[in-house]
Symmetry: C2
Subunit: 666 residues, 2 copies
């Protein structure tokens, strides 16, 4: 019943409006000279301070985090503040046995993935394998308390490991000077965390937005290629391998050392690689069988270790991890180095690994939050990930973040809260305490196979095809990132792609669209003449729409472009002989801002059109623009009310009446 | 008669339209369920190549320089091409004695200004005074043939001289190694010209647009301060002066060497400075008396030289220019150095002086072209100025461009064509050939006074006040440029200001405006709820207007912002109890482009609104945006015709009918 009423109300409202409009139309038609058109009003006055406040709020607090506190009693405010800082308090009180069951299952699943991947990624970063396990123990605990995502599986990831390893290796050899290398890795981790947390605290999270989707897809595919090629060392059993990362030196190094290839290693590598790829394929075909690919790496490690242990293959050319120390993370804050010649390098490494790992972590968190329909606060996540890395750097961990592949498994395995991270962490702890001797005979070739299988998922061909279809320039950016990473270096590839993306943004601002508009017959709607074929230009009028803010970067272009529009229009009118251009109507709805150069543009335009006897009229200028133009318009040349209209059709209707007599007088 | 007819035609046309509209309105009102609304049509298909062509044309050829050749006979094409390359051919055939008379007067006037300023600016650049005269001889001739401005007075200018001198002095001392310094200056000039001409040929002229008005005003005021302080050396007669440029070392140097102050010099300096400032004041009050300030510098030079010669004051502490070599410009192409350790420095110096002098030259050309209502082609001007500097570097000239002050005098003196530059050049030639001995006793203090008087005009306080009134951020940029130049260095000040301006541009893109719109009662117009107080929100509808392209830099922000709009709107609706949010209408007129991230934003928005049972509707998407969204929309989720409307009012009208039944079913 209520709904039927509502429907009727809608219809009534609508009909009322229509009727009102009809009346107005009739009145306007009959007594148009009275000019009862809806006029543009001056915007409500606001002080500079108020405007600055709004601007700053929109820039740094678009999500308005204080909204939830407003109008609440103090107790609620306190609780909400505590919950805001420690999201664990949000779900902890309502935690149930049912949720725990799900979380234990998913936690154990990701642990079975995290242990072999942790060891492998640490090797990718040229760090001792055990650091990978340390990094899978402390950071997940920190994240469980501070993080707001329920699905993120925290730990070391391939790309950050690759960048950390390759950047530090530029100055310090991990073989000749392993202790210094480790110190620099922890210090870089500290800087990465500090940088991440600062971004969040200063609410500068939008900086990571400058890594566009296209850049990331190209970059990740390039990194996957680089990482996979690095694994040829382990997969072929080569002992003398190049230190460089890009394709050409790696491949030439592989083929220069064919004498070092070990057939035992190759056979083992191929077998396990095929096995892992097969399980990956199965899980991708049937997402319910996620546990097949999730358990496969651990199974491979166990089987290969057994094989090596039984056959003593380590004496026949298969290299193994070797003895690992038992026990939990030793403290490492005394290893952080804030002086000396490598400070610049570690700061830079921290910055780049920080941004890249943050991008991955936030993107993963947002993806699963969208799937499960909850909200992840980007800036809060940055603080959580940053603090996790700062704490990590003091407890022998290197850069960690939310890993995409493990988070997907976590989600598939039915995780409910961050408790799955705690379960994973406890499992890793047990491993660290009791199971380390078991890894002594684990062959490196299996770790290589695990890495290759993990990073192959980073090459996203369907996404590349999608980008090609939608935006050719984005595709170019993607290719630049890809080839830059593969042939130059990880940092250069990233820098080129980001530079190109920013260049495109600037070009959009520098060369904004101006559109010539025509009337769609039978309506008072004006649309792009080149899009709507039925749209018609009104003789004597040129209706232009400017579709961007007008500022220093484009005011010269707009001057040239509008003067060309006017000339073309005048030529056209001259050909038709029976009319001449009398009015330039600027549709300003899309001009979201002007600066001093923009204001000059409008002033100059007014002057140059006046010289040609063309009247300049503004339609629907936004409040900010109107205010600035009015302030600049001391002699009341162009912001007089008779040059301002709310819609193009009103402007045309009103001016064609006025234009007649003035044409007469000329 | 014809005009009355035309008026009637306009009125008839207008009434016809109104009548048509009324009919439609009536029909719509009565049989609205038939949905006879104007629908959004798919844009006409265009291939990627065609789109790329348009994009490139708009980027590099916004002025469409080939337009004048289209559809012309070959002979005309040839003539126009020649005229395009050599603008002199445009006015030369029609040149008359009357024009010549004007040009001779103005040419002689600017020559009287150019000779003392040329000598002074060369000293500012730490170059021999005669190089300033050489630079006022050859470049004006080149420009007269190639340039398209009729008012530009070409020669050395203060700011480019300052930058050239200060940058080169960082590595080479002009006193200890004058020959090398001169070589580097000529080579920098060559690079500046090469760079300027390349910008023009590659149609990259928009690069100078990135120096906004605010930046330039701050920068020029700072440079004027720096230049004036430098003149304290000449004005006080100090012999040991600091090599640094910024305020603090210069002032401390001035007050550390009070023992070197020469009272004769100071008296002379004060007298001539007062005289020059007084003449400047007179000419500013009465523009017709332009010749007072134009002739004053030459008069000062003559008088002061006579005074020194007669009183032999050069033996009493007043330093003079000294012997100058007679004769025209010697060739200097053999002095250009393209190797050695200073190559980086000269390239950088060339780049910066090139950009800065280009900015001045183009701005001056455009200003006077706008006054006299002719067109100056930016890219062509760059080629002209660039070639003029390349030729200059081979004929003992340093960086030249169109000087603002001299061009203003040129214009006031009634110049008609570039012949005034030729007249000036010939006058300088005569000076070089016969009058050089006269300058032997010209005191340096007068040159200092001439420079101070010239650069004081660069401090534009009214413009600064204007910027403060219009745009506070631009004012901040201006201050940064000013203080950067004054306290740091010319390059750093410029870099900071440009960086800030670009940051603002990026922030505008990163944080675009979204506006909530309401219906203006009695019309079908929808406008910003916060600007038009009478606008009303339609219950059940949220009408948002996105006012920028949607791309990687802002898609995350827009996601957060729209979700906040929706939540706020839902809360509001919930408070009113009797309705709930059913439709999200996105007004897309101002979304001038999307990239792959933008497309994902719309896809995700569709998904998230669908979860909340809100229907997403697009109003007036532009052709490019529509095309991309359609290509991305394989499952036809959101670009179906029923979700597309041409105007907000049509969307609201049509949906409120449709919304009723669906509300019923829920």
């Amino acid at each position: 019943m209520v709904r039927t009423d509502r429907k009727q109300e809608y219809t009534r409202l609508h009909y009322q409006q229509r009727a009102k409009k009809r009346n107005i139309t009739r009145r306007v038609t009959h007594t148009y000279s009275l000019m009862e058109v809806q006029k543009v009003v001056a915007p409500p006055h606001r002080s500079t301070a108020a405007k600055l406040k709004t601007r700053l709020k929109e820039t740094f607090f678009p999500d308005d985090p204080l909204r939830q506190f407003r109008g609440q009693p103090n107790r609620t405010k306190l609780i909400r503040a505590a919950q805001y800082i420690f999201p664990i308090l949000q779900w902890c009180p309502e935690y149930s046995f049912r949720l725990l069951k799900s979380d234990v299952v998913s936690g154990l699943t990701i642990a079975s993935l995290a242990i072999p991947q942790g060891i492998s990624y640490a090797k990718l970063a040229n760090l001792p394998p055990i650091v990978g396990l340390y990094s899978s123990f402390v950071p997940p605990l920190v994240y469980a308390v501070l993080g707001s995502s329920r699905d993120l599986a925290v730990g070391p990831v391939s790309i950050a490991s690759l960048i950390l390893g390759s950047m530090l290796r530029q100055q310090v050899s991990p073989i000749d000077n392993p202790l210094l290398f480790l110190q620099l890795a922890f210090t870089s981790t500290f800087f990465a965390g500090l940088f991440q947390a600062s971004l969040g605290i200063l609410r500068l999270g939008f900086i990571i937005d400058f890594l566009s989707k296209a850049t990331l897809i190209g970059f990740m595919a390039g990194a996957a290629i680089i990482v996979s090629l690095q694994q040829l060392k382990a997969l072929l059993g080569i002992t003398h391998f190049t230190k460089q990362m890009s394709v050409i030196p790696v491949l030439s190094s592989v083929f220069q050392h064919t004498n070092e290839w070990s057939w035992q290693t190759i056979v083992m590598g191929v077998c396990f690689l095929l096995f892992l790829l097969a399980t990956r394929h199965i899980s991708m075909k049937k997402p319910k069988l996620f546990w097949v690919s999730a358990g496969a790496p651990l199974l491979s490690v166990i089987v290969s270790t057994l094989v090596v242990f039984v056959s003593r293959a380590d004496r026949h050319g298969i290299s193994v991890i070797g003895k690992l120390q038992e026990g939990l993370n030793p403290p490492s804050w005394n290893m952080l180095q804030f002086h000396g010649s490598h400070l610049g390098l570690v700061a830079k490494t921290g910055l780049i690994t920080g941004i890249v790992s943050l991008t991955e972590g936030i993107a993963v968190g947002r993806t699963f939050a969208a799937v499960k329909n909850y909200h992840v606060d980007g800036n809060k996540e940055m603080i959580a990930i940053g603090l996790m890395n700062v704490v990590g750097s003091a407890t022998s961990c290197y850069v960690t973040t939310g890993a995409f592949s493990r988070s997907a498994v976590n989600n598939n395995a039915g995780c409910k809260t961050a408790v799955s991270n705690i379960v994973m962490s406890v499992t890793v702890m047990v491993t660290l305490l009791f199971l380390m001797p078991l890894f002594e005979y684990t062959p490196n070739v299996v770790l290589g196979a695990i890495i290759v299988t993990a990073v192959i998922g980073l090459i996203d061909l369907p996404a590349a095809r999608h980008i090609w279809r939608i935006d050719k320039f984005d595709f170019l950016v993607m290719l630049c990132a890809f080839f830059g990473v593969v042939f130059l270096s990880v940092q250069n590839g990233l820098a080129i792609a980001v530079g190109l993306s920013l260049f495109k943004l600037l070009m959009q601002v520098t060369r904004p669209k101006t559109v010539i508009m025509g009337n769609i017959p039978g309506t008072d709607v004006y649309r792009n003449l080149h899009h709507y074929k039925e749209a018609q230009r009104i003789p004597g009028f040129l209706v232009l729409s400017i579709e961007s803010p007008v500022n220093f970067a484009n005011s010269n272009y707009l001057t040239e472009r509008t003067s060309r529009w006017i000339e073309e229009c005048e030529e056209e009118e001259a050909q038709e002989k029976h009319s001449s251009l009398r009015f330039l109507i600027l549709e300003m709805s899309a001009v979201s801002g002007v600066d001093t150069n923009g204001v000059s543009f409008f002033k100059e335009l007014k002057k140059s059109t006046a010289k040609k006897n063309i009247e300049l009229v503004f339609v629907n200028p936004l409040s900010e623009v109107m205010e600035k133009l009015q302030r600049a318009d001391e002699e009341e040349e162009f912001m007089r009310p008779e040059f301002l209209f709310l819609t193009v059709s009103e402007a045309v209707a009103s001016l064609s009446l006025k234009g007649g007599p003035s044409l007469n007088n000329v």
